[in-house]
């Protein structure tokens, strides 16, 4: 689909084609809401169902049945009558719900009556010495490569960090025939104490038995080593991983180091639209303040899925449906819709085990607030020491920090350093992340070329305004 095939306005624009976006678009379109879904990847599925329908991984056991559940969501959305556009980058969203989107180099501004932001999550920054070396990637990256392209690591692979996804990835890689030298488990011991009180709820959640089975599967094949400091070494690429264990320092040669400290909401688009966010002290990230229907502080803009706080793929789909239902109730009040109560129950069940996982897998402070020459901002190569020193000089927040150090001003627009910078400033100034706040984000939230901007259709009045 080309940009010129789009209507100039839609009743509902859904941004992101993961579980939340697909479920929202399917439900809304079926109820007669004129819906378009924009997704920047070549195919729908988001990260969790990445490559669904196109993956070259044919042996279903490798990715597991939870992955294949995405196929139903995708076909439901395709059959719903919603217009689904892949390769569509949304670079702007304003409080009046004007959506700037770019498709194969052609940009358009689309007016939406309602917007559901379903831009999901991204991996938490994992700032350790050497994390910018080629050969160091996120665990999610390896999972994406496997799902979308059937790529399996060769050579010596080490996985480091903590969180449910780490174990899932390890199991998937092993099933796909990859070797894993070791898993460096960074779960702080003390977290077990903090998590214990949430254990009863967790034991009732769907995560419990699945999680235990995964742990067993992986631990039977890979040595798991508790590590509290990790350094990646190498000249032009990763060569060795050095880590501290309870009994001293160890080193292992490695070709690939996969890092994972959980996922956090991808806030850039919602923040740029002016949606109010708050610090979540349990998940250690910013998330939009949402109501029961996932509506935000900006009228007509909802944030559904993991973008509204991390709860996983099944919960994301339910959140998408609930957000869509709110849209249907306003725009098509007569439409027949499924029972909202059922959705809320499924959602509650899914969210139940979260407190335990959040407490257990909260990454240690030393992995969130680096010191010395460790790079905090990958794009502008700003070190933790520079940020700490500048905070000591009196710099109070991330936006001022940009002016001093250019951190957050490179191509990733602060996505990979935002949380680190906020936490570093809060620590130096003995303040809180809520108090310190996040980067102020402005559109365009994705880079867009002048040629793309110039491709925006112009009205007669606009042309006259610049002609003499």
């Amino acid at each position: 689909m080309n940009a010129s095939d789009l209507a100039s306005s839609y009743e509902l624009v859904v941004i992101g084609g993961g579980p939340a976006g697909l479920a929202a678009a399917a439900l809304a379109a079926k109820a007669g809401v004129q819906t378009v879904l924009f997704d920047e990847n070549p195919g729908v599925g988001g990260q969790i169902y990445r490559g669904i329908g196109t993956t070259p991984v044919r042996n279903r056991a490798i990715l597991g049945e939870d992955y294949w559940a995405g196929a139903a969501l995708a076909s439901e959305a395709r059959a719903s009558g919603a217009t689904i556009v892949n390769g569509a980058t949304v670079w702007s969203l304003d409080p009046n719900r004007l959506v700037g989107v770019s498709i194969s180099g052609q940009a358009r501004m689309i007016q939406a009556q309602r917007v559901i932001v379903a831009t999901g999550s991204m991996e938490r920054p994992f700032p350790i010495p050497g994390w910018t070396l080629p050969g160091v990637m996120t665990a999610g990256a390896a999972q994406t490569a496997l799902k979308a392209q059937g790529l399996v690591p060769t050579g010596r692979t080490i996985i480091a960090g903590c969180g449910p996804l780490l174990w899932l990835l390890a199991a998937q890689l092993l099933r796909a025939g990859a070797g894993i030298e070791a898993i460096l488990d960074t779960t702080p011991r003390i977290n077990w104490l903090k998590a214990a009180m949430h254990l009863p709820d967790f034991a009732l959640s769907p995560y419990w038995s699945k999680g235990l089975a995964l742990l067993r599967e992986v631990k039977a094949k890979v040595p798991v080593i508790a590590a509290h400091r990790i350094v990646a070494h190498g000249k032009d690429k990763l060569a060795e991983v050095v880590f501290a264990t309870g009994t001293g320092e160890r080193r292992m040669t490695a070709d690939l180091l996969l890092l994972h400290h959980g996922v956090v909401p991808n806030v850039n688009l919602a923040m740029a639209a002016g949606v109010a966010h708050r610090w979540n002290g349990r998940q250690l990230c910013f998330e939009p303040a949402v109501d029961a229907d996932f509506g935000t502080s900006v009228h007509g803009i909802a944030v559904a899925g993991d973008g509204a706080g991390i709860a996983g793929g099944t919960a994301a789909a339910e959140r998408g449906r609930i957000a869509a239902l709110a849209v249907i109730q306003t725009l098509k009040p007569g439409a027949t819709v499924p029972n909202m109560q059922m959705m809320r129950q499924t959602l509650a069940r899914e969210e139940m085990g979260r407190a335990f996982l959040d407490a257990l897998y909260q990454p240690a402070p030393s992995f969130r607030r680096p010191v010395g020459d460790t790079i905090a901002c990958r794009c502008e190569e700003v070190t933790a020491k520079q940020v700490r020193d500048t905070a000591d000089l009196g710099c109070e927040g991330p936006n001022q920090m940009k002016a001093f150090l250019r951190c957050g001003m490179g191509p990733c627009q602060g996505r990979l350093c935002g949380l680190t910078i906020t936490e570093l400033i809060a620590e130096q100034r003995r303040s809180t992340p809520q108090e310190v706040g996040y980067y102020r984000l402005r559109p365009p939230v994705k880079p867009i070329t002048l040629a793309e901007l110039a491709s925006l259709p112009k009205t007669e009045a606009e042309r006259k305004a610049v002609e003499r």
């Binding site: 920047e40 990847n41 070549p42 195919g43 990260q47 196109t54 070259p56 991984v57 044919r58 490798i62 390769g87 980058t89 991204m122 991996e123 910018t132 080629p134 050969g135 160091v136 990637m137 996120t138 999610g140 990256a141 994406t144 490569a145 496997l146 979308a148 392209q149 059937g150 790529l151 399996v152 690591p153 060769t154 050579g155 796909a176 025939g177 032009d236 690429k237 070709d255 690939l256 991808n266 990958r378 794009c379 502008e380 190569e381 490179g410 191509p411 990733c412 996505r415 990979l416 880079p447 070329t449």
Partner: protein, 97 residues
């Protein structure tokens, strides 16, 4: 660093820094480059240190390459096309690219 689990399916040929590589139809540019053994995608503007994909999901921008003459494209989000010319990026973007 990576190998393909399955080597069947339609192939697409493209060039990376002038060298021909074969990809699977539907690959992203980044995936095709990783499978072909490309280790460095760009060097940074500040210290010219080498980078390769970190996230493969569009957030880190370490996969930036020039595609068909347009600089700073996210290789992990763009699908391969027959005849595509990809160039790894050195340091700062040059004017006009």
């Amino acid at each position: 660093m990576f190998k393909r689990l399955d080597d069947t399916g339609a192939t697409v040929s493209l060039k990376v820094d002038g060298k021909p590589i074969r990809a699977r139809a539907g690959d992203t540019v980044a995936g095709a480059m990783l499978a072909a053994g490309v280790e460095h995608f760009r060097t940074t503007p500040v210290t010219e240190s080498p980078r390769a994909p970190y996230c493969l999901m569009g957030v880190c921008f370490d996969c930036l390459v020039a595609i068909d003459g347009v600089g700073s494209r996210q290789a992990c989000l763009i699908e391969v096309r027959e005849g595509m010319a990809v160039e790894t990026q050195l340091g700062k973007r040059e004017a006009g690219r």
